[in-house]
């Protein structure tokens, strides 16, 4: 492990929340119980007013900051969470959870189905963003957190933060929605479907029962990740990073030629198969596709926001074409029409959708400015 510096939360270990009562999902199925694995950074203050919830994206998990014993790489949002960082753990108590249906320790397709004694596999019920939010609220109860100073998320995580503001208006002071959308466009769903097809048509997928049959749809999962990855970057970003550099071979002489970008995608795809479960990938992409909080208000997003009480910060990135600034603007316009407090900024970045995971100065300093103010208003000088 790299020696943690003063701006890292350092060594962290995952914690387990076991909910031992039946939990009804939106689609009608009832889980007899569930586990959520999560991490926390910083200290919960006595008034329990400084908690921040991190919601993860499609391929994310609970390990957002610090280092696990023996790891060289920190959590996925290390540059945003830590002492003195935008989410300052000297002041805030940050909770980061692996969602239901995930494959990093929370109950999901890899868990044992109590009815059969076998892994759920493809039988794991389809969870949706609303279910995640409900299960996260149960974790909050367990931690004695009545309300969050902020619920923060990027991409699919931003959808959860948005849903939080609607489902638990009194429990969210601030909702930070980064590179997200109030619903996916047809193009975005199309990319998810290509990824799903790559997985389900892999002969090793075995109708989802690959674990029982001791195989893994590596090729399909790899292809799904490669497609996803291309859509998370921008044309210019890829050109600047890889250009037409060759990894091997010689274009002038026929033979096996490999461009740097191919090698990169192969590596990304392969390493993904080691750490991610195909059934979870299918489930998470479906949850993305289904998300549409305005469906309950006949498609009217302004009406959907009516009950929200949170203040909102909405951020997007100029070259993000998977969750474009236009999608964020739709959220902002609806919030303004609903008379809610909202601030928004569009960050200049060449890194496409991936920008929300990267240390971009203007992005992190905007987030810091917003959260510092929220902290000062709500925690330090708690109003009457």
């Amino acid at each position: 492990m790299t020696a943690p510096d003063a701006t890292s939360v350092g060594l962290v270990s995952p914690l387990l929340f076991q909910y031992k009562q039946p939990f009804a999902l939106q689609n009608g199925t009832v889980l007899p119980s569930f586990d959520l694995v999560y991490e926390t950074y910083g200290e919960l203050n006595q008034a329990k007013s400084n908690a921040v919830l991190i919601c993860h994206a499609l391929s994310g998990h609970h390990h957002a900051a610090g280092y696990h014993q023996g790891d060289r790489k920190p959590g996925w949002w290390e540059h945003c969470i830590g002492p003195g960082k935008a989410m300052d753990t000297n002041k805030l108590f940050v909770v980061s959870v692996n969602n239901l249906g995930g494959c990093h320790g929370s109950t999901g397709p890899r868990s044992t189905n109590p009815d059969t004694g076998q892994p759920y596999g493809p039988e794991f019920p389809q969870v949706v963003v609303k279910d995640w939010v409900a299960s996260q609220a149960l974790l909050a109860n367990h931690l004695n957190i009545d309300h969050f100073l902020a619920v923060v998320g990027g991409s699919l995580g931003g959808m959860q933060a948005l849903q939080w503001s609607i489902d638990f208006p009194q429990r969210v002071h601030n909702a930070v929605l980064i590179a997200t959308a109030a619903k996916l466009t047809a193009q975005n769903i199309a990319f998810n479907e290509i990824a799903r097809q790559a997985i389900t048509t892999d002969p090793d997928y075995r109708a989802g029962n690959y674990r029982i049959e001791d195989t893994n749809p590596d090729r399909g999962l790899m292809l799904a990740r490669m497609i996803g990855h291309v859509t998370y970057l921008s044309d210019d970003g890829m050109a600047n990073r890889f250009g037409r550099e060759l990894k091997s071979g010689d274009i002038d002489n026929a033979g096996d030629v490999e461009f740097q970008v191919e090698s990169y995608l192969h590596h990304q795809g392969r390493s993904f198969t080691q750490r991610f479960d195909a059934n979870t990938y299918l489930l998470m992409t479906r949850a993305l596709d289904f998300f549409d909080p305005a469906r309950e208000t006949s498609g009217d997003l302004v009406a959907a926001f009516e009950q929200a009480q949170a203040r909102f910060l909405v951020m997007s990135f100029t070259t993000d074409w998977r969750f474009s600034p236009e999608r964020s603007k739709e959220i902002v316009d609806a919030l303004i029409a609903a008379g809610k407090d909202v601030a928004s900024t569009v960050i200049d970045s060449e890194h496409g959708h991936d920008s929300f995971l990267l240390p971009i100065d203007r992005y992190t300093s905007a987030l810091r400015a917003y959260l510092d103010h929220a902290y000062n208003v709500t925690v330090r000088h708690k109003g009457p």
Partner: protein, 198 residues
């Protein structure tokens, strides 16, 4: 607070909906949110201004005024404010019309190009005016649509806008009585409270 902003703030009723175009560091909105509990939003495109607004809890929206206000509904606001910004937008006429579409009333403040110092420099020295209230030289100015009070009032008439109130101040934002003898000659800044004629 800047004296011209105070003039604007005095016009705003408590608990109303306010839109501030080119809100800068959010000084006016911050004041209105605290003192008058308005539901206020500010549009700006400058990165430093936006960060300062976020740090003071102002509802700042990153939006370029030159791309219009098409994202706002008709009469979405009680008051639309634009202080010392109209001279630097691409289409002042279109934007003015939009302001009175999305708002019931609006306030516009701007520097007067008809001020005697400007006239003197142009007529006497044959040079583009540079003064305290218009400090930029012709080649580095953001002010691409300067006008005089008289010009502005003609445009308002063209657009069937009603001047509810006009106030004219000098460089120190004083309203000396002599200014109103010939405002277009002696006034440095104009403050116009506008509504529709219908």
């Amino acid at each position: 607070m800047r004296p011209d902003l105070q003039l604007v703030a005095n016009l705003i009723q408590p608990h109303t909906r306010v839109l501030d175009l080119g809100c800068g560091e959010g000084e006016l909105l911050d004041n209105l949110q605290r003192e008058k509990s308005v539901i206020g939003y500010g549009l700006d495109k400058d990165e430093d201004n936006i960060r300062i607004c976020l740090a003071r809890g102002v509802n700042v929206i990153e939006q370029d005024l030159d791309r219009g206000l098409g994202n706002f509904e008709d009469n979405a606001f009680d008051m639309v404010i634009m202080t010392e910004t109209i001279q630097s937008v691409k289409e002042p006429r279109g934007l003015l019309k939009e302001m009175l579409r999305v708002g019931r009333e609006c306030v516009v403040t701007f520097p007067n190009f008809g001020h005697w110092r400007c006239r003197l420099q142009l007529a006497g020295q044959g040079k583009m005016p540079v003064s305290e209230h218009l400090p930029h030289r012709w080649f580095d100015t953001p002010n691409i649509h300067l006008c005089t009070f008289s010009d502005f009032e003609s445009l308002c008439a063209d657009l069937h806008m009603r001047v509810i109130q006009r106030r004219v101040v000098n460089q120190q934002h004083d309203e000396r009585s002599f200014i109103n003898l010939a405002p277009n000659l002696f006034g440095s800044y104009g403050f116009y409270h506008l509504g529709s004629t219908t």
